[in-house]
Structure formats: structure tokens, C-alpha cells
């Protein structure tokens, strides 16, 4: 009976209940899923047959990796769970990079993979892969469902696990025969799993200790990560910063959690952070870390990171606390609730001296570049983009120098405005992520600021944007190099640019061939007009900016250095 994947196949022997493939669709609807991404294959045909009639919008990428990044960015842009489907074997393995990307940045995804028939598992059947084995380290949780009676509850639990606590991707592997068999679906109940408990409420004694430390601090800094965005706690963060009178710096993933146009914003810290953020951290007597995890790109040489400071660490994941830097006052729980309680408990303090010091650093070391150059400076393109979009666009990036420039030169004032692969640093994330974000935000301007090499990895998804008529915009900062790699080779390998330049296609022509609009810009004076055209365009549009090829990202903290030991500040001073 399981020979055929036709939807009716299991019906004669098991006449009661709902088929597994229909249960999946019913559960998706029960979970409120409106859009999903994915790709077909033999062992997911029963599911796709049911999706044919389902009230769920379906987006087919050109590659499962693209589909997974789309689901990921859909989740990042909307705050909902992203859903992706793939077939067994190669379909499932193509998801791995996307799952790992979501895992590192704590993004909620539920991935469904088809699996070969239960009785063939372990036999090296056609398109068989040990999907749960392969994806275990890149998912928050995964499970193979071998009994159709467990399918519905497993899906409910998957959505709960993906979206609660510290979010993350969850994968459910479903053999084709389980999709065909029938079961009676129990009504939804409150989910209880013996091994899954989340502490959302912070310990009140810890919170009052934290408040006391803030009140006593002379030079505090709020160090904010993506956790604040995931928790939806930007407003609460703003209230705490203003009431307690504390400056705020964010990680790459934290950008947008705090309005960068405000005076107390120190912008981003870390390897390519601002000098004023890094100096403030190094001089601070109290670090208030919220939803951040002291990653090495942030801390530089860990021993010398904020060495004068006491550390308060608020995080929903107990395992993040004291992993890299020992917390003096750990508070486990949801950032939003804890920020509310902290704000109630803190008192306003005059910190004129501290803010004056920060003001000095800010005026002495602004992030800048050579505005007089005749070449197209990437920073100029982004500043001009910022001006023309009035700072309102949702920005998505690839990985490399352009990603850092997008972090430094566009300014973010709302959460979920900046979408980037921070933890894994996945080149090729940009375009599919822009598509996922655009689907979540149909009325907003979504722009992929991408690098030529990153874009090359997934540019096939331009066809997807065309097929679904999505007005995504690609602002390609084309230096003809794997620029970030070239920068490291310049600085640390004596300018030996081993294998770091590619022969690129003419991207504007490629865009046109795929049905999008393509514009090539080689002169500085053409930048504003090209951007204007791009922004006015309702079709997918790519602008290929031939930028200054050897521009570097400054400032920079070299590997192994403490974060106040920045290179490139002299360059800023000479231009100030």
C-alpha cells in the first residue's frame, strides 16, 4: 500500500481519522501559518497534494537553502515562525546552511522534511539521508515521526519550542508512509514537555541587586543584543536607558533595538564597532548585558574586555550566562519583563561627566570616510540610500565588508529593520532573506545591500522575486573581490590576494535576463539618480555599483587584540 505516494493510498486499510499529510496542513492552519516556503520531491508529494487546496501562500525558491533563508528572514521581519519544507536526502541536506544560520541567530523556524518509507530507513534507500542526525547540531530540537498518531502533537510542540524561550529552528522528519496513514487528531491542549521549561520571570532578588548596581554605577553601559528584538523589548529598553540615564551600545544583531538617532546611542561595538562604543565599554564600571552573549567578534581579547566593569547579564538562556564572561549579577528570564521591573527599581542619576567623556570620543572619532574621493565609495552609496529612503527601509545584507558598511552607515531606529546573518556569517543570505522579508512586509521598502561574491552564491533567487512579483531591491557594492577576505590578506598576509577575486558576470545583464531590472553604475555622479530609479521601481531591481575596489572597513580590532586597540582611527582623524 505504501508503494504509491498517492494521497488515497492508505485509505482502505485504515479508514478512520485524517491522513498524516492533511494533519500537517491542519496543524499549520491551527498555528496560524499564512505563508510557507519549500521545494518538492518524491516523499513530500502527499503533503504537496494537500497544500494544493490549503489557504496558505506557498513560495517556491530555486534552491532549498534559499527557501530556508526566506523562512528565516520572514520570521526576523514579522516576529512569526518561518516554515520551510524540503524533500528527503538532497532536499534536507540543502537546508543545513539555512538551519545553522537561524540557529546561531536564535530565529524561530519549523522545517518539515520528507523521509523514505519507515521500513526502508537505514537501508540506504534512494534519497535517504539521516536527516535528524545531520541536523541535530544546527537545530534547537529535531524529531522523526514514525507513528502518525504522534504527528499532530509533535507539530504543536515544534511550533512551541521554536518560538518560546530562546527561539530557534526545529525540524520534523516525516516518512512518506506516515503522511499517508490516518490518525484521529486530539484537540489542542496546553503543551507540557517534561524536559522543556522556560523561566521568563526574572528572580526578584537578582533584579533588585541589578537595580542597586545600576544606581551605584558612575559609568554604566547597556550592551544590547538580538535578544531584545526577539523579546519585543525595545520600548522597555528605551524607558530603562532614559530613566537610569545610561548610554546604549548594540551588537550587530541588536541594531534597531535602540534608536540610533538618539544622543545616548553609542551605535555598534566590537570588531568593527565605533571607537566611542568600544572606549565606553572599556572604561565602564558596569556592563548591563541584555540578550547578548559576549561573542568573540564583540569582546575581542576576552581577558581585557570591560575589565573594570561589574557585569549584569540578562538572558533567557541560562547557558548563555557566564559562558564567555562571568556574570556578577545573572538574571535569567525574558528581557521584556525584566526591563520593566528594572526600570521600576532604578533611580535617575546625573552622569554628566560620563556623557561628556562619551561626547568627546564621539566628536573625535566619528565613523567616516573620504567624501572627496572621485571613486564610488561604498559608504557614500549607503549614506545616499539612507537619505533617499529617509531612513525607513528594511535593510538586508550578505556577509563581508558591505555588511559592516550597512551596519555603520545606514542608521536604524526600529527593531527588525536590519536583517543580517550575524552568528554564522552566511554569504548568500542577502537576496533570499530580502525576499522573505518582503513577503512579510509587502508595503515596505526592502533593500538587500549585498557584496558581489555573496550575491553570486544565491543570485538564482532573483527568478523567485520575479515569479512572485516582489519589489525587492538589490544594492550591489561590487568591488570585484571577496572584499573582507582581501582586507585581511592586505593587513595580515602582506597583500597576497590569494584567490580572493572572481571574474563576475555583468550583474545588470544577469538581472535583466532573469526578468528583473538591472542598472550598472560606474561613476560617482550617477549614484543618486540610480538609487532614485531603483526606489521608484515596482519590479525587482538590481543596481550594480562599481565601488572603490580596495576600500577597507574601519575601525578594526585585529584578532586577539582588546577592543580599545583599534586600527584605522588615524584615518578618521585625518579626515575629520
Amino acid at each position: 500500500m505504501a508503494e504509491s505516494s498517492s494521497p488515497g493510498a492508505g485509505a482502505t486499510s485504515e479508514p478512520t481519522g485524517t491522513q498524516g499529510c492533511q494533519i500537517i496542513v491542519d496543524m499549520l492552519i491551527e498555528q496560524g501559518v499564512e505563508v510557507m516556503f519549500g521545494y518538492l520531491g518524491g516523499v513530500v508529494l502527499p503533503l504537496f497534494d494537500k497544500l494544493y487546496d490549503a489557504p496558505i501562500r506557498f513560495i517556491i525558491p530555486r534552491h532549498e537553502q534559499g527557501g530556508c533563508h526566506m523562512a528565516d528572514a520572514y520570521a526576523r521581519a514579522s516576529g512569526k515562525v518561518g516554515v520551510v519544507v524540503a524533500t528527503s536526502g538532497p532536499g534536507a541536506t540543502n537546508l543545513v546552511t539555512g538551519l545553522a544560520t537561524a540557529m546561531m541567530d536564535s530565529i524561530p523556524i519549523v522545517a518539515f522534511t520528507g523521509q523514505v518509507r519507515t521500513e526502508l530507513i537505514g537501508n540506504d534507500a534512494f534519497q535517504e539521508a539521516d536527516t535528524t542526525g545531520i541536523t541535530r547540531p544546527v537545530t534547537k530540537h529535531n524529531v522523526i515521526v514514525k507513528d502518525v498518531n504522534e504527528l499532530a502533537q509533535t507539530i504543536r510542540e515544534a511550533f512551541y519550542i521554536a518560538s518560546s524561550g530562546r527561539p530557534g529552528p526545529v525540524l520534523i522528519d516525516i516518512p512518506v508512509d506516515v503522511q499517508i496513514k490516518r490518525a484521529v487528531v486530539p484537540p489542542p491542549t496546553k503543551i507540557k514537555m517534561p524536559g522543556y521549561h522556560i523561566r521568563t520571570k526574572g528572580h526578584s532578588r537578582q533584579i533588585s541587586m541589578a537595580a542597586k548596581a545600576i544606581n551605584e554605577s558612575q559609568r554604566p553601559v547597556l550592551y544590547v543584543g538580538g535578544g531584545v528584538i526577539l523579546s519585543g523589548a525595545s520600548e522597555e529598553l528605551r524607558k530603562l536607558a532614559l530613566k537610569a540615564n545610561v548610554p546604549v551600545t548594540t551588537t550587530l544583531l541588536g541594531l534597531g533595538s535602540y534608536d540610533q538617532s538618539r544622543a545616548e546611542s553609542l551605535d555598534m561595538l566590537g570588531m568593527h564597532g565605533t571607537a566611542y562604543a568600544n572606549y565606553a565599554v572599556q572604561e565602564s564600571d558596569l556592563m548591563i548585558a541584555i540578550g547578548a552573549r559576549f561573542e568573540d567578534r564583540v569582546t575581542g581579547k576576552i581577558k581585557d574586555f570591560a575589565s573594570k566593569a561589574k557585569v549584569i547579564h540578562v538572558d533567557i538562556d541560562p547557558a548563555s550566562i557566564s559562558k564567555n564572561v562571568r556574570a556578577d549579577i545573572p538574571v535569567v528570564g525574558d528581557a521584556k519583563q525584566i526591563l520593566v521591573e528594572l526600570t521600576e527599581a532604578v533611580e535617575h542619576r546625573d552622569r554628566t561627566e560620563w556623557f561628556e567623556k562619551i561626547g568627546e570620543w564621539k566628536s573625535k572619532f566619528p565613523v567616516t570616510y573620504d567624501r572627496e574621493a572621485n571613486t564610488i565609495k561604498p559608504q557614500y552609496v549607503i549614506e545616499e540610500l539612507y537619505r533617499q529612503t529617509e531612513g525607513n527601509a528594511t535593510i538586508v545584507t550578505g556577509v563581508g565588508q558591505h555588511q559592516m558598511w550597512a551596519a555603520q552607515f545606514y542608521r536604524y531606529d526600529r527593531p527588525r529593520q536590519f536583517i543580517t546573518s550575524g552568528g554564522l556569517g552566511t554569504m548568500g543570505f542577502g537576496l533570499p532573506a530580502a525576499i522573505g522579508a518582503q513577503i512579510a512586509l509587502p508595503d515596505q521598502v526592502v533593500i538587500d545591500i549585498d557584496g558581489d561574491s555573496s550575491f553570486n552564491m544565491t543570485l538564482t533567487e532573483l527568478s523567485t522575486a520575479v515569479m512572485y512579483d516582489l519589489p525587492v531591491k538589490i544594492c550591489l557594492l561590487n568591488n570585484g573581490y571577496m572584499g573582507m577576505v582581501r582586507q585581511w590578506q592586505e593587513l595580515f598576509y602582506g597583500k597576497r590576494y590569494s584567490q580572493s577575486s572572481l571574474k563576475n558576470p555583468d550583474f545588470a545583464t544577469v538581472a535583466k535576463a532573469l526578468g528583473a531590472v538591472g542598472i550598472k553604475v560606474e561613476k560617482k555622479k550617477d549614484v543618486p539618480k540610480a538609487l532614485g530609479k531603483m526606489l521608484a521601481e515596482t519590479r525587482p531591481c538590481l543596481v550594480d555599483f562599481h565601488i572603490d575596489r580596495e576600500e577597507n572597513v574601519w575601525p578594526m580590532v585585529a584578532a586577539g587584540k582588546a577592543i580599545h586597540e583599534m586600527d584605522g582611527l588615524d584615518i578618521f582623524e585625518s579626515m575629520a
Binding site: P137, G195, P318
Partner: protein, 166 residues
């Protein structure tokens, strides 16, 4: 320092792989790992001996607790526990050495479970130090083969539970 960590896990396929994979991925140094069913058929108990400083062991405990199918994790450090290891050891035992070996076995409260003309198989149970001491004492005669279960442990009744964490 050595820590004995006890984890109650759901008796489901993949749990052992998940746990072992986490240890490998995070480069934790595992001395031994013993798994067995409990009185509740839906739960198994893993006893893990980890070597590391307090920070590493704290991470092990937290990362274990984070695995969805892990129900409860306890670090027995600082607690009054009974810890036992079981070893089967086969020792070369020619007739002229046999009396000596049997005396040794008796001294350690061990048990002969099989004999051949050339060797004896012995079962030893006890704290790890005893097992190690017995093995050392057997070395001069020639150890043919060793099998050990790895440590299992239980806190004594009334022992402090302050390190428990679910």
C-alpha cells in the same frame, strides 16, 4: 576536577546521540558515560563523569539541561553520594600464581566468575579508586582484557540537593 553528573532523560530514540553529539560539539571532556532504564519505562538515567573546572562543568550542566529530551540534571559535586563502577577483568593465572591471585581477589572483596586453565575472569564492584587499585595489583600477572561500566551514582538520602537543576 572530576564531577559526577546525573541526567534523567526521556527514553526516546536519538537522546543518546543528541547528548553525545553535544559533548563532542562543545569539546567537553567526558571520562565515562553510563546509561540505563529507571523504574519508569519512559525515563532513562545517564551518569556522566566530566573532568573540568567549575566553569566547564557548569556549562556541561546547562547545555545538558537545554536539550529538550533531557528532563533533569544534577551535579553531585559537594554531595554525599554512593558511586560505583563495575569491572570484569580477565587475568593470566598459571597454576603457580593462582593462589596469590585468589588471595588478592579475596582481599578486594572481588568475585571469580569464570576460570580457564590459563586465566580467571573476575568481577569487581566499588568506587573507582578500588577498581583502579585492583587493576594495578593485577598488572604484574598480566591483564588479558578489561570491561568497565563507567560510574553510576546516587545521592544518599538526606544529602543536599542544592545543585539540582531541571
Amino acid at each position: 576536577m572530576k564531577h559526577i553528573i546525573s541526567a534523567l532523560v526521556q527514553n526516546k530514540p536519538g537522546v543518546l546521540a543528541h547528548t553525545a553529539g553535544m559533548f563532542a560539539a562543545r569539546a567537553f571532556n567526558i571520562d565515562s558515560l553510563a546509561v540505563g532504564r529507571t523504574d519508569d519505562p519512559s525515563l532513562s538515567r545517564m551518569t556522566i563523569v566530566v573532568i573540568g573546572d567549575d566553569r566547564v562543568v557548569e556549562q556541561v550542566r546547562k547545555q545538558l539541561a537545554k536539550i529538550v529530551s533531557v528532563v533533569k540534571v544534577q551535579d553531585f559535586v559537594g554531595q554525599d553520594v554512593v558511586a560505583r563502577d563495575l569491572m570484569l577483568i580477565s587475568i593470566a593465572a598459571p597454576p603457580d600464581k593462582r593462589p596469590e591471585i585468589l588471595a588478592l581477589i579475596e582481599m578486594f572483596n572481588a568475585k571469580v566468575v569464570d576460570t580457564t586453565p590459563k586465566s580467571v575472569m573476575v568481577e569487581v564492584c566499588g568506587p573507582e579508586s578500588k577498581i583502579e587499585a585492583f587493576m594495578d595489583s593485577c598488572r604484574p600477572y598480566g591483564i588479558k582484557s578489561v570491561v568497565r561500566t563507567g560510574t553510576v551514582a546516587m545521592a544518599r538520602q538526606g544529602g543536599s540537593q542544592q545543585n539540582s537543576n531541571s
